[in-house]
Amino acid sequence: MDGRAETEMNAPIGIVADRTSDFVDTRLTAPGIRCAGCIGKIERELSGVEGVDSVRVNFSAKRVAIVHDPEVDEDQLIAALREIGFDAAPIADNPLGNDDAESRKLLRALAVAGFGMMNIMLLSVSIWSGASGATRELFHWLSALIALPVIAYAGMPFFTSALMALRYRRTNMDVPISIGVLLATGLSLYETATGGGHAYFESAVMLLFVLLSGRALDASMRNRTRAGIGALLGSMGKSASVLAPNGSTSRVPANELEPGMLVLVAAGEALAADGEIEEGSGAIDNSMLTGESTPENVTKGSTVHAGAINLSTPLRIRLTKTVSDTAIAEIARLMDEAGQSRSRYVRIADRASRLYAPAVHTLSLLAFVGWMIAGAGWHQSLIIAIAVLIITCPCAMGLAVPAAQVVASGALLKQGLLVKDGSALERLAECDTALFDKTGTLTLGEPRPDLSNLDAGERSIALALAQSSRHPLSRGLTEALHDCAVPPAALEDVREIEGHGVTGIWKGGEVALERPSHTAAAMSVNLRVGDISHLVRFEDTLRDDACETIAAMRALGLEPRILSGDRSDAVRTVADELGLESDAGATPQKKLQALELLKQQGRNPLMVGDGLNDAPALAAAHASIAPGSASDVSQQAADAVFIGRKLMPVALAIKVSRKTMRIVRQNLGFSVLYNVCAVPLALFGFVTPLIAAIAMSISSLVVVANSLRLARSARVPGA
């Protein structure tokens, strides 16, 4: 590592642009970064690449920032990363990742409110302990001097949101907060100017601080999981190599492709538009669209769809439908329509505030009117009315929901489940039916070989051959052989013949891993050592803990079933093994209909799926979960994403979200109880700034402490 990277531990490399003005900055996402070794390896190896000036890994976001010569292009950097074992992709414009700026704004406001709160509290404590006369007046003025700019800055998020709500003749949590803070500040200013005894500056600022911590927690939860999901999003079919008539190729983004263009699709690349094969033949993986795991053989004249992955030789494809006409775009439209019902969902905090705000405002108004009638004078009546507002300001309520949800989502994150936001947790808790897709969800979605007919020597030859290829079957084979700790054999002259297989020389004889001559079994390869050959069959196996997860879901009262786009015999095998009911051959439209039917029966379905064909269903379901290997669209449509080979996080998500809602209700219940006790004090004029400050801190602490109980909720028993 070079010295500069050492000294600027966390600084993004781009800021040293003055010295490296002729270098460019490239950011790649590499989801495979898992440990310190990965950081070291990437930074060491990539720095050695010709033309690379410096490399910096961001471990949290799983990103690599590279400062390099403009002559080195992105593809070369990706290739260099692949060589050292990391799959990387350019960072796409991620529609999920735009609220980073919002959370920074909240953090800044929180810091300012914290600063103001501490200093004003310092002055207030001396007033409460008996400072009087000129000292008290001086301290009040000082407090006002600090509080006014702090409230103007830190209160902005609430004021703007409240204004927005009022403009549309609605009310939200921010309306009572803003009214409370502004009235308290106004009254305190008046008290200060007239030399009165009670200024509520510290209460106003403390209220902002506590509420801002709730907001900041909420935003940080969203950011953390969205960064995680952003790292998983690949570059699937977002651009294509277009062949010009003179034979040169150029990269064209998917949204600029036009029908009639001739594109070259390399092995392992995803199609960016629909088209017809003009040259070449081989197999494509259509599982993203259909959910069917067996590769489909295609040849000249076959129609292929965007989202399909080319598995074999490079194909030349004449585009027929692009951008919004593709089969994928049709799915996206279905998704948009399906997702609308979800945006109408009202979160529990807003439901609570719809009842709460009118009640509090009426009470405060009644207090004012009551004391006026009792003859207390308008000044005294106003002070009491404002005290009612301050003491009932939804301090605990503003924390009740986010505190519990942040702790729960942190606990789930440790178990490999990223929940996108609080609303997702609330909806997950309400699910009562679960629908599972098959390929990639109940199964791993990647072929696993049956190695029983290979001996140790053959296994090591197979590994040596397989690890030099990127074909999905080779990758499955490599992974399985790594798991049995087989060392690769020393081979010479290993060559990959596109569309045919891999060959090499072992102890003077030819060895090969090739496509079987008879194409009866689509998912198999032939291992040839000299004259002896073995057929290695592949299967898309169930996730290890699928059975236990299904049992756990049943124990939680959810009735799981399978809803798959795959062939009915393939689905039935899995369904029988797990003891589930199943529907096979479902198109995206049919999946939507099935969900609508369940909703009409008054049920809240949970959809778990990965393919593009599941995306509309994921958007339409009451709540949805996708595996980390799912298509980008599905991950964006889903409420939560689980990473790794286990299915258990799905059951865990339901369990923890229900527990979270229990805690949230307890928190809200406590807030109401607190108000029931505190309001009479305020109504009868016993509340002083000191009492308001103490009551506010205690109620917030109780809510936070109660929420922290969730930290242990996601632990798997025995793990």
């Binding site: 590592m1 966390n10 600084a11 800021i15 440990c35 950081i39 961001n58 471990f59 920074r104 953090l107």
Partner: protein
């Protein structure tokens, strides 16, 4: 009482300094990669003679 004329500005100044440091840290990306810093201490630099 005269002590206050020193103490209050000092207290405010120190608080403001902390605030300024926090703003600086945020602007310079110190919070960008919180888990990375924990992992980096495990990297063995001597391996490549650096």
């Amino acid at each position: 009482m005269t002590g206050l004329t020193f103490l209050i500005p000092i207290a405010l100044g120190m608080g403001a300094m902390g605030l300024a440091v926090f703003f600086w840290a945020m602007k310079h990306g110190q919070f960008e990669d919180l888990d990375g810093a924990a992992q980096r201490i495990l990297i063995d630099d001597e391996e490549d003679g650096a």
